[in-house]
Protein backbone atom coordinates (compact mmCIF):
# COMPACT_ATOMS: atom_id res chain seq x y z
CA UNK A 1 0.00 0.00 0.00
CA UNK A 2 1.40 3.29 -1.06
CA UNK A 3 1.11 5.97 1.60
CA UNK A 4 -0.89 8.99 0.47
CA UNK A 5 1.53 11.82 -0.17
CA UNK A 6 -0.08 14.50 1.98
CA UNK A 7 2.29 17.33 1.24
CA UNK A 8 1.55 17.05 -2.43
CA UNK A 9 -2.13 17.40 -1.67
CA UNK A 10 -1.85 20.57 0.48
CA UNK A 11 -2.93 23.06 -2.16
CA UNK A 12 -5.57 20.69 -3.51
CA UNK A 13 -7.12 20.37 -0.04
CA UNK A 14 -7.14 24.17 0.26
CA UNK A 15 -8.87 24.48 -3.11
CA UNK A 16 -11.54 21.89 -2.27
CA UNK A 17 -12.10 23.59 1.11
CA UNK A 18 -12.59 26.95 -0.62
CA UNK A 19 -14.95 25.36 -3.13
CA UNK A 20 -17.15 23.88 -0.40
CA UNK A 21 -17.05 27.15 1.55
CA UNK A 22 -18.12 29.12 -1.53
CA UNK A 23 -21.00 26.74 -2.24
CA UNK A 24 -22.22 26.94 1.37
CA UNK A 25 -22.03 30.73 1.56
CA UNK A 26 -23.88 31.52 -1.64
CA UNK A 27 -25.72 29.15 -3.98
CA UNK A 28 -24.90 31.50 -6.89
CA UNK A 29 -21.29 30.33 -6.54
CA UNK A 30 -22.04 26.99 -8.23
CA UNK A 31 -23.98 28.48 -11.14
CA UNK A 32 -22.23 27.61 -14.42
CA UNK A 33 -22.09 31.28 -15.39
CA UNK A 34 -20.18 32.12 -12.20
CA UNK A 35 -17.76 29.21 -12.50
CA UNK A 36 -17.20 30.11 -16.14
CA UNK A 37 -16.41 33.72 -15.14
CA UNK A 38 -13.96 32.68 -12.45
CA UNK A 39 -12.16 30.21 -14.71
CA UNK A 40 -12.00 32.64 -17.64
CA UNK A 41 -10.57 35.39 -15.41
CA UNK A 42 -7.98 32.95 -14.09
CA UNK A 43 -6.78 32.21 -17.60
CA UNK A 44 -4.54 35.31 -17.95
CA UNK A 45 -2.67 34.78 -14.70
CA UNK A 46 -2.88 31.02 -15.31
CA UNK A 47 -1.09 31.07 -18.67
CA UNK A 48 1.57 33.40 -17.31
CA UNK A 49 1.96 31.29 -14.16
CA UNK A 50 2.55 28.11 -16.21
CA UNK A 51 5.46 29.86 -17.92
CA UNK A 52 6.59 31.29 -14.59
CA UNK A 53 6.73 27.74 -13.18
CA UNK A 54 9.49 26.90 -15.68
CA UNK A 55 11.41 30.11 -14.98
CA UNK A 56 11.23 29.68 -11.19
CA UNK A 57 12.06 25.96 -11.42
CA UNK A 58 15.34 26.73 -13.22
CA UNK A 59 16.16 29.13 -10.40
CA UNK A 60 15.17 32.36 -12.13
CA UNK A 61 12.44 34.96 -11.67
CA UNK A 62 10.53 37.34 -13.92
CA UNK A 63 9.06 40.50 -12.42
CA UNK A 64 8.28 42.08 -15.78
CA UNK A 65 5.34 39.91 -16.93
CA UNK A 66 2.53 42.25 -15.78
CA UNK A 67 4.08 45.25 -17.51
CA UNK A 68 4.95 43.06 -20.50
CA UNK A 69 1.30 42.01 -20.83
CA UNK A 70 0.22 45.67 -20.79
CA UNK A 71 2.87 46.59 -23.37
CA UNK A 72 1.99 43.65 -25.65
CA UNK A 73 -1.72 44.50 -25.38
CA UNK A 74 -0.81 48.07 -26.35
CA UNK A 75 1.25 47.18 -29.44
CA UNK A 76 -1.27 44.51 -30.49
CA UNK A 77 -4.08 47.07 -30.42
CA UNK A 78 -1.97 49.67 -32.23
CA UNK A 79 -0.92 47.15 -34.89
CA UNK A 80 -4.50 46.05 -35.53
CA UNK A 81 -5.76 49.65 -35.63
CA UNK A 82 -3.05 50.48 -38.17
CA UNK A 83 -3.70 47.37 -40.25
CA UNK A 84 -7.46 47.80 -40.40
CA UNK A 85 -7.06 50.47 -43.08
CA UNK A 86 -5.05 48.08 -45.26
CA UNK A 87 -6.50 44.64 -44.62
CA UNK A 88 -10.02 45.59 -43.55
CA UNK A 89 -12.24 44.55 -40.66
CA UNK A 90 -11.88 40.78 -40.78
CA UNK A 91 -10.30 37.78 -39.10
CA UNK A 92 -7.13 38.24 -41.15
CA UNK A 93 -6.37 41.49 -39.36
CA UNK A 94 -7.04 39.88 -36.01
CA UNK A 95 -4.79 36.93 -36.81
CA UNK A 96 -2.02 39.37 -37.73
CA UNK A 97 -2.62 41.12 -34.39
CA UNK A 98 -2.35 37.78 -32.61
CA UNK A 99 0.93 37.20 -34.43
CA UNK A 100 2.21 40.55 -33.18
CA UNK A 101 1.30 39.57 -29.60
CA UNK A 102 3.02 36.18 -29.82
CA UNK A 103 6.11 37.41 -31.65
CA UNK A 104 6.35 40.44 -29.37
CA UNK A 105 6.08 38.21 -26.32
CA UNK A 106 8.74 35.82 -27.57
CA UNK A 107 11.01 38.76 -28.37
CA UNK A 108 10.45 40.45 -24.99
CA UNK A 109 11.18 37.12 -23.30
CA UNK A 110 14.30 36.72 -25.41
CA UNK A 111 15.55 40.17 -24.35
CA UNK A 112 15.03 39.30 -20.67
CA UNK A 113 16.67 35.89 -21.12
CA UNK A 114 19.61 37.20 -23.15
CA UNK A 115 20.39 39.91 -20.59
CA UNK A 116 20.30 37.27 -17.86
CA UNK A 117 22.27 34.51 -19.58
CA UNK A 118 24.53 36.37 -22.01
CA UNK A 119 25.16 39.62 -20.14
CA UNK A 120 25.07 37.66 -16.84
CA UNK A 121 22.95 40.08 -14.89
CA UNK A 122 20.85 38.87 -11.97
CA UNK A 123 17.32 37.90 -13.16
CA UNK A 124 15.77 39.97 -10.39
CA UNK A 125 17.58 43.11 -11.57
CA UNK A 126 17.03 42.57 -15.31
CA UNK A 127 13.31 42.00 -14.96
CA UNK A 128 12.91 44.79 -12.40
CA UNK A 129 14.42 47.04 -15.06
CA UNK A 130 12.30 45.76 -17.93
CA UNK A 131 9.22 45.95 -15.68
CA UNK A 132 9.70 49.73 -15.51
CA UNK A 133 10.55 49.96 -19.21
CA UNK A 134 7.46 48.08 -20.44
CA UNK A 135 5.15 49.99 -18.07
CA UNK A 136 6.50 53.36 -19.19
CA UNK A 137 6.36 52.37 -22.86
CA UNK A 138 2.67 51.50 -22.71
CA UNK A 139 1.86 54.72 -20.83
CA UNK A 140 3.85 56.66 -23.44
CA UNK A 141 2.23 54.87 -26.39
CA UNK A 142 -1.20 55.59 -24.92
CA UNK A 143 -0.23 59.22 -24.28
CA UNK A 144 -1.16 58.67 -20.64
CA UNK A 145 -4.68 57.58 -21.56
CA UNK A 146 -6.07 54.38 -22.99
CA UNK A 147 -5.46 52.57 -26.28
CA UNK A 148 -8.75 51.28 -27.66
CA UNK A 149 -9.30 48.73 -30.37
CA UNK A 150 -11.20 49.76 -33.52
CA UNK A 151 -14.86 49.05 -32.75
CA UNK A 152 -15.48 47.02 -35.90
CA UNK A 153 -12.58 44.69 -35.06
CA UNK A 154 -13.78 44.61 -31.48
CA UNK A 155 -17.09 42.96 -32.38
CA UNK A 156 -15.34 40.33 -34.53
CA UNK A 157 -12.68 39.66 -31.91
CA UNK A 158 -15.04 39.67 -28.89
CA UNK A 159 -16.04 35.95 -29.03
CA UNK A 160 -12.41 34.96 -28.41
CA UNK A 161 -12.92 35.91 -24.77
CA UNK A 162 -16.69 35.55 -24.37
CA UNK A 163 -17.46 32.66 -26.75
CA UNK A 164 -16.66 28.98 -26.58
CA UNK A 165 -18.29 25.59 -26.34
CA UNK A 166 -21.31 26.17 -24.13
CA UNK A 167 -20.20 27.82 -20.91
CA UNK A 168 -16.65 26.52 -21.36
CA UNK A 169 -15.19 29.59 -23.04
CA UNK A 170 -12.01 29.82 -25.16
CA UNK A 171 -9.85 31.22 -22.35
CA UNK A 172 -10.75 28.19 -20.21
CA UNK A 173 -10.01 25.79 -23.05
CA UNK A 174 -6.69 27.48 -23.84
CA UNK A 175 -5.66 27.48 -20.20
CA UNK A 176 -6.53 23.79 -19.85
CA UNK A 177 -4.55 22.81 -22.96
CA UNK A 178 -1.52 24.87 -21.97
CA UNK A 179 -1.63 23.47 -18.43
CA UNK A 180 -1.71 19.86 -19.67
CA UNK A 181 1.06 20.53 -22.19
CA UNK A 182 3.09 22.34 -19.53
CA UNK A 183 2.80 19.45 -17.08
CA UNK A 184 3.79 17.01 -19.84
CA UNK A 185 6.79 19.10 -20.89
CA UNK A 186 7.96 19.44 -17.29
CA UNK A 187 7.57 15.72 -16.50
CA UNK A 188 8.30 13.89 -19.70
CA UNK A 189 10.65 15.86 -21.92
CA UNK A 190 14.38 16.41 -21.84
CA UNK A 191 13.79 20.17 -21.63
CA UNK A 192 11.70 19.73 -18.47
CA UNK A 193 14.31 17.52 -16.82
CA UNK A 194 17.06 19.97 -17.71
CA UNK A 195 15.04 22.82 -16.19
CA UNK A 196 14.73 20.93 -12.91
CA UNK A 197 18.38 19.87 -12.97
CA UNK A 198 19.60 23.44 -13.48
CA UNK A 199 17.34 24.67 -10.70
CA UNK A 200 18.66 22.18 -8.16
CA UNK A 201 22.33 22.62 -9.08
CA UNK A 202 23.40 24.49 -12.18
CA UNK A 203 27.07 23.52 -11.83
CA UNK A 204 26.32 19.81 -11.77
CA UNK A 205 23.97 20.33 -14.69
CA UNK A 206 26.77 22.03 -16.64
CA UNK A 207 29.18 19.15 -15.89
CA UNK A 208 26.48 16.78 -17.13
CA UNK A 209 26.70 18.47 -20.53
CA UNK A 210 23.47 20.42 -20.18
CA UNK A 211 23.58 23.70 -22.12
CA UNK A 212 22.57 25.73 -19.06
CA UNK A 213 22.47 29.15 -20.72
CA UNK A 214 20.39 27.90 -23.62
CA UNK A 215 17.81 26.15 -21.43
CA UNK A 216 17.56 29.21 -19.17
CA UNK A 217 17.09 31.49 -22.18
CA UNK A 218 14.39 29.17 -23.53
CA UNK A 219 12.38 29.33 -20.29
CA UNK A 220 12.20 33.13 -20.61
CA UNK A 221 11.21 32.91 -24.28
CA UNK A 222 8.53 30.35 -23.33
CA UNK A 223 7.24 32.64 -20.57
CA UNK A 224 7.22 35.65 -22.93
CA UNK A 225 5.29 33.68 -25.54
CA UNK A 226 2.73 32.64 -22.93
CA UNK A 227 2.38 36.28 -21.87
CA UNK A 228 1.67 36.97 -25.55
CA UNK A 229 -0.94 34.22 -25.57
CA UNK A 230 -2.54 35.68 -22.42
CA UNK A 231 -2.61 39.06 -24.20
CA UNK A 232 -4.45 37.51 -27.16
CA UNK A 233 -7.20 36.47 -24.74
CA UNK A 234 -7.09 39.70 -22.74
CA UNK A 235 -7.49 42.21 -25.56
CA UNK A 236 -11.00 41.10 -26.66
CA UNK A 237 -12.29 41.36 -23.08
CA UNK A 238 -12.25 45.14 -22.69
CA UNK A 239 -10.75 46.04 -26.06
CA UNK A 240 -8.28 48.39 -24.44
CA UNK A 241 -4.92 48.74 -22.75
CA UNK A 242 -3.58 51.47 -20.51
CA UNK A 243 -0.90 52.14 -17.93
CA UNK A 244 -3.02 50.35 -15.33
CA UNK A 245 -3.36 47.09 -17.29
CA UNK A 246 -1.79 44.05 -15.67
CA UNK A 247 -0.65 45.82 -12.50
CA UNK A 248 0.68 43.26 -9.98
CA UNK A 249 0.09 40.31 -12.30
CA UNK A 250 3.71 39.30 -11.78
CA UNK A 251 3.17 38.93 -8.05
CA UNK A 252 -0.07 36.99 -8.52
CA UNK A 253 1.65 34.63 -10.94
CA UNK A 254 4.61 34.11 -8.60
CA UNK A 255 2.23 33.58 -5.64
CA UNK A 256 0.29 30.97 -7.63
CA UNK A 257 3.50 29.12 -8.50
CA UNK A 258 4.64 29.05 -4.87
CA UNK A 259 1.21 28.04 -3.51
CA UNK A 260 1.28 25.19 -6.01
CA UNK A 261 4.37 23.70 -4.39
CA UNK A 262 7.16 24.86 -6.70
CA UNK A 263 10.19 25.87 -4.64
CA UNK A 264 11.09 29.56 -4.96
CA UNK A 265 14.77 28.61 -4.94
CA UNK A 266 14.21 26.29 -7.89
CA UNK A 267 14.79 22.63 -8.61
CA UNK A 268 11.27 21.31 -8.28
CA UNK A 269 8.42 22.39 -10.53
CA UNK A 270 4.79 21.37 -10.51
CA UNK A 271 2.64 22.79 -13.27
CA UNK A 272 -0.59 21.19 -12.00
CA UNK A 273 0.13 22.71 -8.57
CA UNK A 274 0.45 26.12 -10.23
CA UNK A 275 -2.98 25.63 -11.81
CA UNK A 276 -4.42 24.88 -8.37
CA UNK A 277 -2.66 27.97 -7.01
CA UNK A 278 -4.18 30.19 -9.69
CA UNK A 279 -7.64 28.82 -9.01
CA UNK A 280 -7.25 29.35 -5.25
CA UNK A 281 -6.34 33.00 -5.79
CA UNK A 282 -9.21 33.87 -8.11
CA UNK A 283 -11.72 31.83 -6.11
CA UNK A 284 -10.96 33.78 -2.92
CA UNK A 285 -11.63 37.00 -4.81
CA UNK A 286 -14.92 35.66 -6.13
CA UNK A 287 -16.12 34.33 -2.76
CA UNK A 288 -15.32 37.61 -1.02
CA UNK A 289 -17.37 39.49 -3.62
CA UNK A 290 -20.27 37.05 -3.42
CA UNK A 291 -20.56 37.25 0.35
CA UNK A 292 -20.47 40.15 2.77
CA UNK A 293 -18.27 38.19 5.14
CA UNK A 294 -15.74 40.92 5.94
CA UNK A 295 -15.23 44.61 5.30
CA UNK A 296 -13.97 45.11 1.73
CA UNK A 297 -10.92 46.82 3.27
CA UNK A 298 -9.85 43.41 4.57
CA UNK A 299 -10.09 41.48 1.28
CA UNK A 300 -6.33 41.73 0.75
CA UNK A 301 -5.67 40.43 4.26
CA UNK A 302 -7.89 37.37 3.75
CA UNK A 303 -6.06 36.59 0.51
CA UNK A 304 -2.73 36.97 2.28
CA UNK A 305 -3.75 34.62 5.08
CA UNK A 306 -4.88 31.93 2.64
CA UNK A 307 -1.69 32.22 0.57
CA UNK A 308 0.45 31.77 3.68
CA UNK A 309 -1.77 28.94 4.99
CA UNK A 310 -1.57 27.01 1.74
CA UNK A 311 2.22 27.16 1.86
CA UNK A 312 2.38 26.35 5.59
CA UNK A 313 0.25 23.28 4.94
CA UNK A 314 2.89 22.01 2.54
CA UNK A 315 5.88 22.89 4.68
CA UNK A 316 4.57 21.03 7.71
CA UNK A 317 3.96 17.91 5.69
CA UNK A 318 7.41 18.16 4.22
CA UNK A 319 9.01 18.43 7.66
CA UNK A 320 7.09 15.32 8.77
CA UNK A 321 8.47 13.32 5.88
Amino acid sequence: MKRIDLHLLGPLIALIGLFILGALLNPAFLAPANLSNVLARSAFIGLIAVGMTFVITQGGLDLSVGSMAAFLAGITIMAMNALVGVTGENWGTILLGMGVALAGGAMAGYVNGALITKARIEAFIVTLGTMGIFRSLVTWLADGGTLSLDSGLRSIYRPVYYGGIGWITWPIITFAIVAVLGEWVMRHTRFGRHVEAIGSNDRVARYSAVDVARVRLLTYVLLGTLVGLATILYVPRLGSASGSTGVLWELEAIAAVIIGGTALKGGRGRVWGTVVGVLILSMIDNILNLTDLVSPYLNGAIQGVIIVLAVVLQREKRAAE
Binding site: N37, T139, A142, T146, G243, S244, N289, L290, D292
Partner: protein, 319 residues
Protein backbone atom coordinates in the same frame (compact mmCIF):
# COMPACT_ATOMS: atom_id res chain seq x y z
CA UNK B 1 46.60 70.29 -32.36
CA UNK B 2 43.35 68.53 -32.82
CA UNK B 3 43.19 67.36 -29.26
CA UNK B 4 43.70 70.84 -27.92
CA UNK B 5 40.82 72.11 -30.03
CA UNK B 6 38.58 69.38 -28.73
CA UNK B 7 39.41 70.38 -25.18
CA UNK B 8 38.65 73.99 -25.88
CA UNK B 9 35.21 73.23 -27.14
CA UNK B 10 33.52 72.26 -23.86
CA UNK B 11 35.22 75.13 -22.09
CA UNK B 12 33.87 77.59 -24.61
CA UNK B 13 30.43 76.04 -24.21
CA UNK B 14 30.67 76.37 -20.44
CA UNK B 15 31.67 80.01 -20.73
CA UNK B 16 28.82 80.67 -23.12
CA UNK B 17 26.27 79.06 -20.84
CA UNK B 18 27.56 81.15 -17.92
CA UNK B 19 26.98 84.31 -19.92
CA UNK B 20 23.57 83.05 -21.01
CA UNK B 21 22.42 82.26 -17.49
CA UNK B 22 23.65 85.65 -16.33
CA UNK B 23 21.57 87.26 -19.05
CA UNK B 24 18.55 85.21 -18.08
CA UNK B 25 18.78 86.28 -14.48
CA UNK B 26 18.74 89.89 -15.58
CA UNK B 27 15.43 89.93 -17.40
CA UNK B 28 13.66 88.30 -14.44
CA UNK B 29 12.13 85.14 -15.80
CA UNK B 30 9.62 83.62 -13.43
CA UNK B 31 10.05 79.87 -13.05
CA UNK B 32 6.96 77.88 -12.09
CA UNK B 33 7.40 74.28 -10.98
CA UNK B 34 4.53 71.86 -11.59
CA UNK B 35 4.54 68.52 -9.79
CA UNK B 36 1.78 66.00 -10.53
CA UNK B 37 1.26 62.23 -10.30
CA UNK B 38 2.24 60.27 -13.39
CA UNK B 39 -0.22 59.07 -16.00
CA UNK B 40 -1.02 55.59 -14.74
CA UNK B 41 -4.80 55.95 -14.87
CA UNK B 42 -7.20 57.44 -17.40
CA UNK B 43 -8.02 60.48 -15.28
CA UNK B 44 -4.36 61.18 -14.51
CA UNK B 45 -3.56 60.70 -18.20
CA UNK B 46 -6.06 63.44 -19.00
CA UNK B 47 -4.64 65.59 -16.23
CA UNK B 48 -1.10 65.17 -17.59
CA UNK B 49 -2.29 66.09 -21.06
CA UNK B 50 -4.05 69.24 -19.84
CA UNK B 51 -1.00 70.23 -17.76
CA UNK B 52 1.37 69.90 -20.73
CA UNK B 53 -1.11 71.65 -23.03
CA UNK B 54 -1.50 74.60 -20.64
CA UNK B 55 2.25 74.93 -20.10
CA UNK B 56 2.94 74.97 -23.84
CA UNK B 57 0.31 77.63 -24.36
CA UNK B 58 1.51 79.85 -21.49
CA UNK B 59 5.16 79.55 -22.52
CA UNK B 60 4.23 80.63 -26.04
CA UNK B 61 2.21 83.57 -24.73
CA UNK B 62 4.56 84.92 -22.06
CA UNK B 63 8.28 85.23 -22.77
CA UNK B 64 9.17 85.77 -19.13
CA UNK B 65 7.48 82.57 -17.87
CA UNK B 66 9.37 79.30 -17.62
CA UNK B 67 7.91 76.00 -16.46
CA UNK B 68 9.37 72.86 -14.93
CA UNK B 69 7.03 69.87 -15.13
CA UNK B 70 7.67 66.65 -13.27
CA UNK B 71 5.50 63.57 -12.79
CA UNK B 72 5.90 61.10 -9.95
CA UNK B 73 4.68 57.55 -9.43
CA UNK B 74 4.79 57.69 -5.65
CA UNK B 75 4.93 60.25 -2.84
CA UNK B 76 8.64 59.68 -2.20
CA UNK B 77 9.58 60.51 -5.78
CA UNK B 78 7.33 63.58 -5.68
CA UNK B 79 9.11 64.92 -2.59
CA UNK B 80 12.48 64.46 -4.35
CA UNK B 81 11.14 66.24 -7.43
CA UNK B 82 10.10 69.24 -5.36
CA UNK B 83 13.46 69.33 -3.55
CA UNK B 84 15.23 69.28 -6.92
CA UNK B 85 13.09 72.12 -8.23
CA UNK B 86 14.04 74.25 -5.21
CA UNK B 87 17.72 73.36 -5.27
CA UNK B 88 18.53 73.37 -8.98
CA UNK B 89 15.84 75.32 -10.81
CA UNK B 90 15.30 78.13 -8.32
CA UNK B 91 11.53 78.15 -8.82
CA UNK B 92 9.42 81.17 -7.89
CA UNK B 93 6.18 79.24 -7.59
CA UNK B 94 5.08 75.66 -7.14
CA UNK B 95 1.89 74.07 -8.42
CA UNK B 96 1.50 70.70 -6.73
CA UNK B 97 -1.11 67.97 -6.86
CA UNK B 98 -0.05 65.95 -3.81
CA UNK B 99 0.15 62.21 -4.39
CA UNK B 100 -0.81 61.83 -0.75
CA UNK B 101 -1.61 64.60 1.70
CA UNK B 102 0.43 63.62 4.76
CA UNK B 103 3.88 62.93 3.26
CA UNK B 104 3.77 66.03 1.03
CA UNK B 105 2.77 68.48 3.76
CA UNK B 106 6.23 69.19 5.20
CA UNK B 107 8.10 69.43 1.89
CA UNK B 108 5.52 71.88 0.50
CA UNK B 109 5.65 73.85 3.74
CA UNK B 110 9.42 74.21 3.23
CA UNK B 111 8.84 75.63 -0.24
CA UNK B 112 6.45 78.15 1.28
CA UNK B 113 8.97 79.07 3.99
CA UNK B 114 11.49 79.86 1.25
CA UNK B 115 9.06 82.60 0.22
CA UNK B 116 7.69 80.94 -2.90
CA UNK B 117 4.13 81.14 -4.17
CA UNK B 118 2.39 77.79 -3.54
CA UNK B 119 -0.67 76.44 -5.31
CA UNK B 120 -2.15 73.16 -4.07
CA UNK B 121 -4.43 71.23 -6.40
CA UNK B 122 -7.25 68.80 -5.65
CA UNK B 123 -5.91 66.81 -2.69
CA UNK B 124 -5.33 69.19 0.18
CA UNK B 125 -2.39 69.16 2.57
CA UNK B 126 -2.69 67.82 6.09
CA UNK B 127 -2.16 71.28 7.59
CA UNK B 128 -4.24 74.39 6.86
CA UNK B 129 -2.90 77.72 5.74
CA UNK B 130 0.26 76.63 3.90
CA UNK B 131 -0.80 77.31 0.35
CA UNK B 132 -1.52 80.69 -1.24
CA UNK B 133 -4.01 79.24 -3.68
CA UNK B 134 -6.11 76.09 -3.50
CA UNK B 135 -7.79 74.73 -6.64
CA UNK B 136 -9.87 71.59 -6.39
CA UNK B 137 -12.75 69.56 -7.66
CA UNK B 138 -15.62 68.96 -5.29
CA UNK B 139 -15.61 65.36 -4.10
CA UNK B 140 -18.68 65.81 -1.94
CA UNK B 141 -20.61 67.25 -4.86
CA UNK B 142 -19.30 64.42 -7.07
CA UNK B 143 -21.02 61.87 -4.86
CA UNK B 144 -24.03 64.02 -4.07
CA UNK B 145 -24.89 64.85 -7.70
CA UNK B 146 -24.89 61.15 -8.62
CA UNK B 147 -26.92 60.27 -5.50
CA UNK B 148 -29.48 62.98 -6.23
CA UNK B 149 -29.82 61.79 -9.80
CA UNK B 150 -30.60 58.26 -8.59
CA UNK B 151 -32.98 59.58 -5.91
CA UNK B 152 -34.97 61.65 -8.39
CA UNK B 153 -34.93 59.46 -11.48
CA UNK B 154 -35.11 55.81 -10.44
CA UNK B 155 -38.37 53.98 -9.79
CA UNK B 156 -39.47 53.41 -6.20
CA UNK B 157 -37.68 50.45 -4.58
CA UNK B 158 -34.88 50.50 -7.15
CA UNK B 159 -31.79 48.47 -6.27
CA UNK B 160 -28.33 50.01 -6.67
CA UNK B 161 -24.83 48.52 -6.58
CA UNK B 162 -21.75 50.68 -6.03
CA UNK B 163 -18.15 50.32 -7.19
CA UNK B 164 -15.78 52.21 -4.96
CA UNK B 165 -12.32 53.48 -5.86
CA UNK B 166 -9.03 52.80 -4.09
CA UNK B 167 -9.59 53.08 -0.32
CA UNK B 168 -8.75 56.75 0.36
CA UNK B 169 -10.33 59.71 2.18
CA UNK B 170 -11.28 61.10 -1.23
CA UNK B 171 -13.24 57.94 -2.00
CA UNK B 172 -14.87 58.05 1.45
CA UNK B 173 -16.03 61.64 0.92
CA UNK B 174 -17.65 60.72 -2.38
CA UNK B 175 -19.35 57.59 -1.08
CA UNK B 176 -20.57 59.29 2.11
CA UNK B 177 -22.13 62.11 0.10
CA UNK B 178 -23.70 59.57 -2.26
CA UNK B 179 -25.25 57.66 0.62
CA UNK B 180 -26.40 60.88 2.30
CA UNK B 181 -28.19 61.94 -0.87
CA UNK B 182 -30.07 58.64 -1.00
CA UNK B 183 -30.90 58.57 2.69
CA UNK B 184 -34.61 58.47 3.46
CA UNK B 185 -35.48 57.71 -0.15
CA UNK B 186 -37.02 54.41 -1.19
CA UNK B 187 -33.92 53.38 -3.19
CA UNK B 188 -31.80 50.58 -1.80
CA UNK B 189 -28.00 50.18 -1.97
CA UNK B 190 -27.39 46.44 -2.28
CA UNK B 191 -23.60 46.32 -2.12
CA UNK B 192 -20.38 48.34 -2.21
CA UNK B 193 -17.01 46.83 -3.21
CA UNK B 194 -13.72 48.34 -4.33
CA UNK B 195 -13.05 48.41 -8.08
CA UNK B 196 -9.90 50.50 -7.45
CA UNK B 197 -10.64 52.91 -10.34
CA UNK B 198 -9.46 50.09 -12.61
CA UNK B 199 -11.24 48.56 -15.61
CA UNK B 200 -10.22 44.98 -14.95
CA UNK B 201 -11.03 45.05 -11.24
CA UNK B 202 -14.38 46.70 -11.95
CA UNK B 203 -15.13 44.04 -14.58
CA UNK B 204 -14.51 41.27 -12.03
CA UNK B 205 -16.51 42.92 -9.25
CA UNK B 206 -19.43 43.58 -11.59
CA UNK B 207 -19.43 39.96 -12.81
CA UNK B 208 -19.72 38.89 -9.19
CA UNK B 209 -22.53 41.39 -8.49
CA UNK B 210 -24.42 40.03 -11.50
CA UNK B 211 -24.02 36.47 -10.22
CA UNK B 212 -25.08 37.47 -6.73
CA UNK B 213 -28.10 39.70 -7.42
CA UNK B 214 -30.86 38.67 -9.82
CA UNK B 215 -32.26 42.20 -9.71
CA UNK B 216 -30.12 45.31 -10.19
CA UNK B 217 -31.63 48.56 -11.49
CA UNK B 218 -28.68 50.93 -11.37
CA UNK B 219 -24.90 50.92 -11.01
CA UNK B 220 -22.89 53.80 -9.63
CA UNK B 221 -19.47 53.11 -11.13
CA UNK B 222 -18.12 56.40 -9.72
CA UNK B 223 -15.41 56.60 -12.41
CA UNK B 224 -15.50 56.17 -16.17
CA UNK B 225 -12.61 53.71 -16.29
CA UNK B 226 -14.62 51.49 -13.98
CA UNK B 227 -17.78 52.14 -15.99
CA UNK B 228 -16.08 50.62 -19.08
CA UNK B 229 -15.41 47.38 -17.18
CA UNK B 230 -18.94 47.39 -15.74
CA UNK B 231 -20.52 47.82 -19.19
CA UNK B 232 -18.56 44.83 -20.53
CA UNK B 233 -19.61 42.60 -17.64
CA UNK B 234 -23.26 43.59 -18.15
CA UNK B 235 -23.01 42.94 -21.89
CA UNK B 236 -21.53 39.50 -21.25
CA UNK B 237 -24.45 38.63 -18.95
CA UNK B 238 -26.87 40.01 -21.57
CA UNK B 239 -28.58 42.28 -19.03
CA UNK B 240 -28.10 45.62 -20.83
CA UNK B 241 -31.80 46.45 -20.66
CA UNK B 242 -32.16 45.93 -16.94
CA UNK B 243 -29.94 48.62 -15.49
CA UNK B 244 -28.47 52.07 -16.01
CA UNK B 245 -24.81 52.89 -15.35
CA UNK B 246 -23.58 56.22 -14.04
CA UNK B 247 -19.82 56.73 -14.10
CA UNK B 248 -17.95 59.93 -13.39
CA UNK B 249 -15.20 62.34 -14.48
CA UNK B 250 -16.33 62.74 -18.09
CA UNK B 251 -14.25 60.34 -20.22
CA UNK B 252 -14.64 61.33 -23.86
CA UNK B 253 -15.96 57.91 -25.01
CA UNK B 254 -18.64 57.99 -22.33
CA UNK B 255 -19.54 61.62 -23.02
CA UNK B 256 -19.94 60.87 -26.72
CA UNK B 257 -22.35 58.02 -25.88
CA UNK B 258 -24.35 60.40 -23.69
CA UNK B 259 -24.46 62.83 -26.62
CA UNK B 260 -26.09 60.03 -28.62
CA UNK B 261 -28.67 59.49 -25.81
CA UNK B 262 -27.60 55.92 -25.03
CA UNK B 263 -30.35 54.58 -22.72
CA UNK B 264 -27.81 52.58 -20.72
CA UNK B 265 -25.77 55.71 -19.92
CA UNK B 266 -28.24 58.47 -19.11
CA UNK B 267 -25.86 60.91 -17.41
CA UNK B 268 -22.34 61.44 -16.10
CA UNK B 269 -20.88 63.59 -13.33
CA UNK B 270 -17.91 65.85 -14.04
CA UNK B 271 -14.68 65.94 -12.14
CA UNK B 272 -12.60 67.66 -14.76
CA UNK B 273 -8.96 66.62 -15.25
CA UNK B 274 -8.62 70.15 -16.68
CA UNK B 275 -8.67 71.48 -13.11
CA UNK B 276 -4.85 71.41 -13.32
CA UNK B 277 -5.13 73.99 -16.13
CA UNK B 278 -7.10 76.33 -13.88
CA UNK B 279 -4.41 75.97 -11.22
CA UNK B 280 -1.45 76.57 -13.56
CA UNK B 281 -3.16 79.45 -15.32
CA UNK B 282 -4.13 81.23 -12.10
CA UNK B 283 -0.62 80.78 -10.71
CA UNK B 284 0.82 82.27 -13.90
CA UNK B 285 -1.59 85.21 -13.72
CA UNK B 286 -0.29 85.97 -10.25
CA UNK B 287 3.05 86.88 -11.90
CA UNK B 288 1.96 88.45 -15.17
CA UNK B 289 -1.07 90.46 -14.03
CA UNK B 290 -2.15 92.61 -11.14
CA UNK B 291 -5.17 90.49 -10.33
CA UNK B 292 -5.15 88.95 -6.84
CA UNK B 293 -4.86 85.20 -7.16
CA UNK B 294 -4.90 83.86 -3.62
CA UNK B 295 -7.70 81.97 -1.93
CA UNK B 296 -9.74 78.87 -2.66
CA UNK B 297 -11.22 77.96 -6.01
CA UNK B 298 -13.56 74.95 -6.01
CA UNK B 299 -14.72 73.61 -9.35
CA UNK B 300 -18.13 72.13 -8.76
CA UNK B 301 -19.33 68.83 -10.22
CA UNK B 302 -21.90 69.17 -12.99
CA UNK B 303 -24.38 66.65 -14.28
CA UNK B 304 -23.64 65.83 -17.93
CA UNK B 305 -26.89 65.14 -19.78
CA UNK B 306 -27.58 64.53 -23.48
CA UNK B 307 -28.55 68.21 -23.72
CA UNK B 308 -25.29 69.71 -22.45
CA UNK B 309 -22.83 66.88 -23.22
CA UNK B 310 -21.23 68.68 -26.16
CA UNK B 311 -19.51 71.28 -24.00
CA UNK B 312 -17.76 68.54 -21.98
CA UNK B 313 -16.38 66.73 -25.03
CA UNK B 314 -12.61 67.12 -25.68
CA UNK B 315 -11.77 64.90 -28.67
CA UNK B 316 -7.99 65.54 -28.48
CA UNK B 317 -7.52 64.61 -24.82
CA UNK B 318 -6.43 61.03 -24.16
CA UNK B 319 -9.17 60.78 -21.50
Amino acid sequence: MKRRNLLKLPMAAAALSLIASGALAQDETTVIGVSIPSATHGFMGGLNWHAQDTIDRLEATYDNLDFVLSTAGDPGKQVSDIEDMLATRNIDALVVLPFESEPLTDPVKMVKEEGKFVTVVDRGLAEDGIEDLYVAGDNTAFGRVAGEYFRDNLDAGAKIVVLRGIPTTLDNERVDAFQAALEGSDKEILDMQHGNWNRDDAFNVMQDYLAKYPEIDAVWAADDDMAIGVLEAIAQAGREDEMVVVGGAGMKEIVSRIMESDPQLPVNVTYPPALISSAIEMTALNFVSNAPMTGRYIISSQLITPENAEQYYFPDSPF
